[in-house]
């Protein structure tokens, strides 16, 4: 499901015009991005949490060439699903 499809579905779900949904979605993503860049994690109830994690610098050795490279530290977004979602997903399987 891509962006457009999601919007179309949300239009049906919220009984709101498509344009509004679009702006809302954009605002949401913008807000999330802002929060994450401010190094804050976002917890969405019954869905999961978005958080920023720092990956420490590390040495990587190329297996073939034995070339050693120092990978600098970086910040990555990590999502962890909530237990409710997890259970839902697995119950569906069962």
């Amino acid at each position: 499901m891509n962006h457009k499809e999601l919007i179309a579905k949300l239009v049906l779900r919220c009984n709101l015009p498509k344009s509004e949904i679009e702006t809302l979605l954009e605002a949401t993503t913008q807000a999330m991005k802002e929060q994450l860049t401010n190094n804050k994690s976002i917890g969405i109830q019954s869905f999961g949490t978005f958080e920023v994690r720092k990956k420490e610098e590390r040495l990587s050795v190329h297996p073939a060439t034995q070339k050693r490279t120092l990978i600098p530290p970086k910040l990555v977004v990590n999502f962890k699903q909530s237990n409710i979602l997890k259970e839902k997903l697995n119950n569906k399987e069962l």
Partner: protein
Amino acid sequence: MSKDKISSQEMIDQVAASLSVSKRVAEEFLKSLFAEIEETLLNGEPVKIKNLGTFKMQWNEPRKSVNVQTGEVIVLEGFNKVTFTPDTELKDAVNEPYSHLDAIDLDESDQPVSKPTEVEHVVPELTEGLRNLSEQASEIKDLLSEIKALSIKEKAPQPSVRDYEIPDYELILIDEEPEIKQITENKIEEEEEEEEEESDDDDDEAIEEEDTIEEVEEVEDEQEKSEEFVQTEEIAEIQATLVDETTSEELIVEEPQLVENTNFEQTELNKEDISELQNEVEIHSNEIVSQEQEQIAEHIQEEEIEYKKESESEEPTYSPVYEQVPQTTYISNKTELKEAVSSPFILGKTKKKRKGLKFTFLFLLFIALIVGGIYIAYASSSCFSCWFKYTLLSEENREKADKYWIDAKNWFDFSDNKKNAAAPKTKEASKTAKNDSLNVTKSSSDTTTEIDQTSNQTAIQAPDSFDIAFKKRRNYNEFIGEETISEGTRLTTVSQQYYGKREFWVYIYEANRDNIVHPDRITPGTVVKVPKVDPRLIDKKNPKCLQKARELHDLYVGKK
């Protein structure tokens, strides 16, 4: 890392504030958004949100683990997991503080870590180079010692020769010779030094070597001249050889011109010329002696061959080594001459004259041949063998060579014949043995022997044709049928159906290799073409066919 956690409520507030919409709308929207994502994820579909990222459901396989406390092996059940891959935009935005950092290649910056390995690589090379140099030095030393030994030998017989000489020229000999020796030795030492410094000054070396070549040649000239003086006063017999030497001198006079051309190979060739010329001189001296003393001649011939071998074998090694070869041969020549002289040397004058004439004639012939040879060698340095023939294999030598050649041939032929003779014998023996056995059977009963014979013949013929058929590359162009593989059918069953034997499925597999990945895993529905195989290969009654088929079976199934 989670310093501040924003709850969903706070999110709703933010969204509402940014868009100046009621919180209720924002809450409804967000809830519906995540509900929608959840739903689509539950359907197994990924959700992609622009500027944010992709949500995906991932199945984690069940895995084994160990209870840390009890050491029990427990199986963690597989589960679904939602993964989120941030969009590049989000990723970059989040990674802003560290975005200026780049991956660093440590092999470039951290020299001390990588250096030791480099040094280890370099050291063996250096030592190898030194080893080579030391080896060369030892070789040169050996050669020097050889030369010295020869020169000592030379000195020993000289007094006896000088007894016959006119005293005036003794002075020249005594004065000149040691000097020459010293010079030559110095030269050789210089060469050695040069060799040791080889790696440092290659360019200089080439020039220096050329210089030394010229110098050595000059020395040789001097030596020869001195010898000439001695020999002219000696006996008329040696006149012929003397003339020979003058020719060699002439050749040597030609050499510097060639050296000026700085063509190293050609100078080498000329060096060879000299050495072989001197060998020829030896031959002449031998011939003189041979009429008087056959024994000595034989002895010298042996020496000659040795020297030739030496000169030929040492040709490709290295030029300095090579330069020394002519000298050694020269010395040997001298000694031989002296032997010839010390032996009963006074002959009838008429004989001498005849021989003189003969040798002048021969010598002229030689000159013609040598000049021709040099010309050819000079014109086309590649035509080495031609030149070799012209110079070395001149008439008499050719005869000799032919003789040796014939001898060698005979010898080889003989050995071959021996082998051939041995082989037929064994064959005959086996034949006779067979006949014997047949006779024995015949004596028992005639009919059975006939049957035996026929069966034997067929037995011999069949494997041959089979082997040929088997070794021949099997091409499957003709097909006798097609079979669609369904669940349960195997190639063996098809083989049984068409060829009457399960083992011959390998040929069907060979013909359908494009369609079948592995004979044990044929997807149902694949159409298998049954090829027309050489009937000799699928002979049910022939155990060899079955054996070969089984070998192929092992090969394809991968048992080995």
